[in-house]
């Protein structure tokens, strides 16, 4: 089994969402790192200043190192946060004052002593972690240089609080930017796919018989698709037109010899006196008539289906249409001495419709009436308005319906159970009901009072 291809939209949206998510995470991490570094730098600045302030106050002497602790240095530290402050001063590697368990820097005292700027490091201390600034100085004690190291430490709660706040903000920023990017990616997917949808719509809106080339404005990327679509349409159009030509040719090649057969059979019938031969010739003529009628109605039926799909609706005046069709049938009706009475065609009755289809329906109704009417009866063809409907009724004095309704008799190739020996294809009423349906109309068959059939064909008035 072939897997259904993932929709372009889904593909695009998933990829854009992925990119948005990665960018949001990178943004979050960057903001956090920068904020952490900034907070640390602030603390280091203050710690360094305090350390240097203490180192300034170191004094040499004859007996030892003197120190006047500058308390303002500690108050600076206290002002930036409520963190606890520790200090330790070593002279010659031996704790002089302060917390003597405060960790010393990893480097040797000599290096520290040589540097003017403080060194910073973070160490665990007691129950917490502290940031420590250390600076070394050399003090002369009894004219002997003694290395002194000053360390000032501060707990990191304040900095951690800042970091947590910044992290929250960064997370919100990351989520916000992700949401924004996601929304934009949905819009982008929509706008990128819009030309495809428009093309699909334009092609989909066409009726099955609209075989013009697609000249919808399309982006460059879709042109190969449109190009091959048009190629396909052109081939289909060619095939259809060859089929139409073929049908016309076939009709010609079949009907012409059939006409010869019929004419010859009629001539032979005139000349023959042998009753079996005459009966055979009559059968030949009936068969020719039946096959030509079937061929004609199959063609009509195909035309009806073909045209119903793309109904070319235009205003049609039913009155002259009915008069014309009735005039066309008059000679045929006359052969059976049938009176064809037309009423209601004095004034125009306009409907929206396809004239050849309406004519085809009307011809089939009249054809049925003429076929099934006993000679010297009348067929009443009436046009009337009834509410918003134009109603054509064809009433004959034929053999009626034998209990079957329009729905049954309109089935393809279905013929009434009382059709008897009358030649027919069973497609006539199918054509009528299909034309009615295509025009939003209605086709009904009723028994006529006093015998016969009344066919009612109604269409919405224009």
């Amino acid at each position: 089994m072939r897997r259904a291809a993932l929709s372009l939209r889904l593909r695009l949206v998933i990829q854009l969402f992925g990119i948005a998510a990665v960018l949001a995470i990178v943004l979050y991490l960057t903001v956090r790192t920068v904020a952490d570094q900034a907070a640390e730098a602030t603390q280091d600045g203050v710690l360094g200043a305090a350390t240097l302030a203490i180192a300034e106050r170191l004094q040499g002497g004859e007996v030892g190192v003197g120190l006047d602790l500058p308390y303002e240095a500690f108050s600076i530290l206290g002002s930036i946060s409520a963190d606890r402050v520790f200090y330790r001063i070593d002279a010659d590697g031996v704790p002089l004052t302060g917390y003597d368990d405060l960790p010393r820097p990893d480097q040797g005292g000599g290096e520290i002593a040589a540097s003017v700027a403080p060194v910073f490091y973070t160490r665990p201390f007691r129950d917490t972690e502290v940031r420590i600034a250390a600076v070394g100085r050399t003090v002369l004690v009894a004219r002997r240089p003694v290395p002194v190291m000053v360390m000032v430490a501060q707990t990191r709660q304040g900095q951690e609080a800042i970091a947590a706040r910044v992290a929250n903000r960064a997370a919100a920023l990351g989520l916000g930017s992700f949401a924004l990017a996601a929304a934009l990616s949905l819009l982008t997917a929509g706008s990128v796919l819009r030309p495809i949808n428009r093309l699909a719509e334009a092609v989909g809106r066409r009726g099955p018989n609209d075989l013009r080339a697609v000249d919808h404005p399309t982006p460059v990327e879709l042109r190969p698709l449109v190009f091959s679509l048009n190629g396909f349409i052109a081939r289909l159009r060619g095939a259809l037109s060859r089929t139409e030509t073929f049908i016309a040719e076939a009709a010609h090649h079949i009907r012409t010899p059939l006409a010869t057969v019929r004419a010859r059979a009629e001539i032979a019938l005139r000349q023959s006196r042998s009753e079996p031969t005459r009966e055979a010739l009559r059968a030949v003529i009936r068969a020719v008539e039946e096959s030509s009628r079937s061929a004609g109605q199959l063609l009509d039926h195909a035309t009806v289906i073909y045209r119903s799909d793309r109904l070319t609706e235009a205003p049609v005046d039913l009155a002259p249409l009915i008069d014309g069709v009735a005039a066309g049938f008059a000679p045929t009706a006359d052969l059976k001495d049938l009176a064809l009475r037309v009423a209601g065609t004095e004034a125009p009755v306009i409907v929206q419709g396809d004239r050849p289809l309406l004519e085809s329906a009307l011809r089939n109704l009249l054809d049925n009436a003429v076929k099934y009417s006993p000679e010297e009866t009348a067929i009443d063809l009436t046009l009337a308005r009834d509410g918003g409907q134009a109603v054509i009724t064809v009433a004959d004095r034929g053999r009626g319906l034998s209990g079957e309704g329009a729905a049954q008799l309109s089935e393809r190739f279905r013929r009434g159970s009382n059709a008897g020996d009358v030649v027919g294809s069973g497609l006539g009423l199918t054509i009528v009901s299909e034309v009615a349906a295509a025009h939003g109309g209605l086709f009904e068959l009723d028994e006529r009072e006093g015998g016969g059939t009344c066919a009612r064909f109604s269409l919405p008035l224009a």
């Binding site: 009907r255 010899p257 010869t260 004419a263 001539i267 009509d300 052969l335 050849p356």
Partner: protein
């Protein structure tokens, strides 16, 4: 009636011509549009029976050209194309009527008559027998000063008998021309029409005589 039959299929043309001659019509044949023009230049016709697919052109173009040129000899198109659209097409081009192949000759004749009647053509087809003047085109008989209308089957029956007065026509011969081949007809049906026609001919001296066991003939005293 005098027909010009334009049909390129030799078999069909021969059959149709023979069939029309059996009914007493004159028929000239043309197989191409060129021959058609030659015939029309040399003689005049009551009706042209025109096929559409011809070797040297489309019958519809010929039809349109004739009408454009103002020549209005009635034209009935014989078409093998039965589609609705084709039918509308030929009438719009100026054809008087059309028949779809294969056609019923009785119907063709009825259509020809209808076309000529519609055109108001004064044909030299009025036939006289005894005190009877018969106009098949208008479907009337005149007896003295009285004009009597004939129904279609009475008209055709009289046409058959008038074609050869005195000759006996069998019931079969009459049946073939009066009824469609799809109908099952009893001998009784013919008698009904004979009876009616006799009443229409009353007082003209013309008489339809029953030849027992054979058929009917038209006689005058």
């Amino acid at each position: 009636m005098r027909f010009l039959l334009v049909e390129d299929n030799a078999d069909l043309a021969a059959s149709v011509a023979e069939r029309l001659r059996l009914d007493g019509h004159g028929v000239d044949r043309a197989a191409t549009l060129a021959e058609t023009r030659d015939c029309l230049a040399a003689a005049s016709y009551d009706l042209i029976l025109l096929d559409i697919s011809l070797p040297d052109g489309d019958g519809r173009d010929f039809l349109a050209a004739e009408r454009r040129a103002g020549r209005d000899t009635p034209i009935i198109v014989m078409t093998a194309r039965a589609a609705v659209v084709d039918r509308v097409d030929v009438l719009d081009l100026g054809a008087d009527d059309y028949v779809t192949k294969p056609f019923d000759f009785a119907e063709l004749e009825a259509r020809c008559r209808a076309v000529l009647r519609r055109r108001g053509v004064a044909l030299q087809t009025v036939q006289q027998f005894a005190g009877l003047i018969f106009n098949p085109l208008n479907a009337t008989v005149r007896v003295g000063d009285e004009l009597r209308e004939l129904r279609n089957r009475e008209l055709r029956l009289l046409e058959i008998l008038m074609a050869a007065p005195g000759r006996i026509f069998s019931k079969n011969q009459i049946c073939d021309r009066l009824f469609s081949y799809a109908e099952s007809v009893t001998d009784n049906a013919i008698e009904v029409y004979v009876g009616r026609l006799r009443r229409k001919l009353d007082g003209s001296g013309a008489r339809i005589e029953t030849v027992r066991g054979i058929g009917y003939r038209l006689t005058a005293p």
